[in-house]
């Protein structure tokens, strides 16, 4: 029974079926999706870490392999990542109860004056799917509000997105404002978006520039490694 649930969970992660109503790639796959199966696993007293390791992470690994082999594309990846992040939401209280740490908290935002958000949303979904607790602060968000959020919520990482060369400058302002508020060394700042470059990130003193969501996952993993 336990094995069946975990195997089905893994398969549904691979197929990117969040709920029983979703279509996977293989049309013959019906029945409960990732959400229902995660709930069923908890109801059957399967420990949260086992659900994650053998069901979710094992499934995501295969998704990653298929993506690298160009069998899967971004829409497939995002469907799986979204299903996983929904599962993580129900697993969260159980992880806390059993003292298992999440990978960290990540606040992401499109800076003041900028309304582009496709890239930001993709990054948010991928990070959530990789086990980070992600808060999306929205678009066109004033610097003061971002600083306020960091002060009150203390996220481990702050992700800034800007697509315009004019709004990109707000990233520098945000870093300066974090310094002025004495918060700069409490949060790692990642920047991204078409206007931004590694050179600019260095200039403004960001901790990392990421080309895309996968790069962000890689960068965060290296941060995790250096932390531990």
């Amino acid at each position: 029974m336990t094995e069946d649930i975990i195997a089905a969970l893994k398969e549904n992660v691979i197929q990117g079926r969040m709920t029983q109503d979703d279509e996977g790639i293989d049309e013959s796959l019906t029945g409960p999706g990732v959400l229902e199966l995660t709930q069923a696993a908890l109801d059957n007293n399967i420990p949260a870490d086992e659900i994650i390791t053998n069901g979710i992470t094992a499934g995501m690994e295969i998704v990653g392999e298929r993506f690298n082999a160009k069998e899967y594309f971004i829409p497939d990846m995002l469907a799986s990542a979204e299903a996983v992040s929904a599962a993580m939401d129900i697993l969260k209280p159980h992880l806390e109860a059993s003292n298992i740490e999440t990978k960290g908290t990540f606040a992401i935002v499109t800076v003041r004056g900028d309304i582009h958000d496709i890239g930001k949303n993709i990054v948010a979904i991928l990070l959530k799917g990789s086990g980070y607790e992600v808060t999306d602060l929205g678009i066109d968000v004033p610097t003061e509000k971002i600083v306020e959020y960091v002060r009150e919520n203390n996220p481990d990482y702050l992700g800034l997105s800007a697509l315009l060369t004019t709004t990109m400058l707000a990233m520098g302002d945000i870093i300066e404002a974090l310094k002025a508020a004495g918060l700069r060394n409490k949060v790692k700042v990642l920047v991204g978006g078409a206007a931004v470059s590694g050179e600019y990130a260095r200039e403004i003193g960001a901790d990392a520039y990421c080309v895309d969501g996968f790069d962000a996952v890689r960068v965060l993993n290296t941060f995790q490694e250096t932390k531990s």
Partner: protein, 532 residues
């Protein structure tokens, strides 16, 4: 007399009349249910005053409204919207006159890329035969500058097929700020081309400075109305179905001033619009109609252009894919929708996915350029020189594109099959069959000299080697040495006295400053982690 463009006799149509009608009906339904989310107070008030169903929506951060636009408002707007839009030019012979019902195509550049691609040629020697050398282009990306924008306007002035100029490159010099960018980009463009100039506005507080500058150049307020030498483009609707706060504000202010404006929407099939054709077309059409309706409510009769930039998503990154075949299908559908409403249309072709000039670039561009041209959009943003999905501009590529459009224009000449031609040909045939060689060669000679034969490809090399880039580069430099008619000195002085924010180095009379200062920050596009 305006520019001639190219009149398409039997425009290519994808959708049948019935399908157009279906899209129209679906768009009308979308405008009521779900309607549009609006983040701009003025737009919400204007729609409410006009009788739309406007409700305020609870939101933590941005004031938000839901607007349901009844069909009657849209039909009223379609009634008052001008069916002919004139885009003027410093040289009146370069004006563009666009009738919504007439498939006359104008070819236009575009559109504010961050990266400018320089080219340098390296010489390579063949290993097996050191006597053979070839020139291989090396493309070097860097951030665009005001000097680049001037240079590109200068070359575009001399590209024969190019009918109008959308600023090509985003100016990112150290002394360009949000507050002086608009005046400088418009001045740099206007001063280096006598063709029509269109751009987006970075900062609303610069609008009047830009308009006043245009008045000075056109010769006064009335003259600017008569001959609108500048126009604007705004993406006021963000897909799906959201009026953005700042661009909507800008749009409203431009409409009040009565200058021509493109109501542009750029949904991406797969991410911000349905992946299927019916879905993205019904949505973009609703989005553009919502913008047009707002424009007519602000200022009845103000000239607007139906701006459609639908694209398909790339499956590996979800970035825009202009090279995707569907992107051309969507653009053609939109051309048909605009013609159905008799409103001049702005569509896109030519932008490609590939990152540098080369084979993929040529294939992607020619494919969409030919097809979308055949559908007859009035204003074809065929994006001379644009690469990498709108991110990179190459002046060399713009010169290559001009050659493509020469071919397309030639192809679209009307067939000459009339009484005179037939009589003449019968005479020829009867004469030639009497001769021992049975060849028509002597009849070519006259035709060769009347311009009736298409010229050979201008960048064809000798022998085996492909010299396309080197020859196009030569041509580009040749065009740069050809003079352009700048704005006259008296007007330039008035502009520099009266319009704040202009960079002194753009005043041709002012002292020359060292070249090094004209350079922007160099930026090699090595992507990666800064911690590398």
């Amino acid at each position: 007399m305006p520019r001639e463009g190219i009149l398409i006799d039997n425009p290519y149509e994808r959708m049948t009349g019935e399908q157009i009608e279906r899209v129209h009906r679906a768009s009308m339904e979308i405008l009521v249910d779900p309607g549009l989310t609006c983040f701009n107070q003025k737009a919400a008030d204007i729609f409410a005053a006009a009788g739309a169903d406007v409700t305020s929506v609870e939101s933590d951060d941005h004031p938000t409204w839901l607007i349901k636009i009844p069909e009657k408002l849209v039909l009223d707007a379609l009634e008052s919207v001008p069916k002919t839009v004139k885009l003027g030019a410093r040289n009146p012979a370069n004006a563009l006159v666009m009738h919504g019902e007439e498939p006359r195509v104008y070819f236009i550049s575009g559109s504010e890329t961050n990266i400018w691609l320089d080219v340098d040629f390296q010489t390579y020697t063949r290993k097996s035969d050191p006597g053979i050398e070839i020139q291989v282009p090396e493309f070097i990306p860097r951030r665009g500058t005001v000097a680049d924008l001037c240079k590109s306007a200068h070359v575009c002035e001399h590209l024969e097929t190019l009918d109008g100029y959308i600023r090509t490159v985003n100016i990112q010099d150290k002394d360009i700020t949000e507050d002086n960018k608009d005046v400088n980009k418009f001045f740099a463009s206007l001063n280096n081309t006598t063709k029509h100039v269109m751009a987006g506005l970075t900062s609303l507080n610069q609008l009047d400075n830009v308009v006043n500058m245009a008045k000075l150049i056109a010769g006064g307020e009335e003259q600017l109305k008569e001959n609108p030498i500048i126009s604007f483009i705004t993406c006021l609707v963000k897909s799906p179905l959201q009026f953005v706060n700042d661009t909507t504000e800008t749009f409203i202010e431009i409409c009040k001033r009565g200058l021509p404006i493109v109501v542009s929407s750029s949904p991406q099939a797969g991410s911000t619009a349905p992946i299927k054709e019916a879905g993205i077309i019904a949505q973009i059409n609703a989005e553009v109609l919502a913008g047009i309706t707002l424009g007519q409510l602000v200022n009845r009769g103000t000239p607007v252009i139906y701006g459609s930039v639908p694209v398909r998503a790339r499956m590996d990154t979800l970035a825009d894919s202009y090279g995707a075949v569907e992107t051309s299908q969507y653009n053609i559908d939109c051309v048909q929708m605009a013609r159905f409403y008799k409103i001049p249309n702005y569509s896109t072709s030519g932008v490609c996915d590939s990152k540098t000039p080369g084979q993929q670039t040529s294939i992607e561009r020619l494919f969409s350029d030919i097809l979308v041209t055949l559908s007859g959009p009035q204003f074809l943003h065929c994006a001379y020189g644009l690469l990498d999905c709108n991110s990179v501009f190459s002046l060399l590529q713009a010169v290559l594109d001009d050659a493509h459009f020469q071919m397309i224009k030639f192809f679209l000449r009307k067939p000459r099959i009339d009484e005179v031609e037939i009589t003449d040909t019968l005479k020829q045939i009867r004469a030639v069959v009497q001769t021992p060689q049975k060849l028509y060669i002597k009849y070519i000679r006259k035709v060769m000299r009347t311009g009736e034969l298409s010229p050979s490809y201008p960048f064809e090399g000798d022998g085996e080697t492909d010299n396309v880039f080197a020859l196009a580069y030569e041509k580009m430099n040749e065009l740069l040495t050809k003079p352009v008619e700048h704005i006259d000195q008296a007007t330039t002085s008035r502009i520099f006295n009266e319009i704040p924010g202009l960079l002194p180095r753009l005043n041709r009379k002012s002292e020359r400053i060292p070249r090094s200062l004209l350079r922007g920050t160099s930026m090699y596009m090595k992507k990666g982690n800064i911690n590398d």
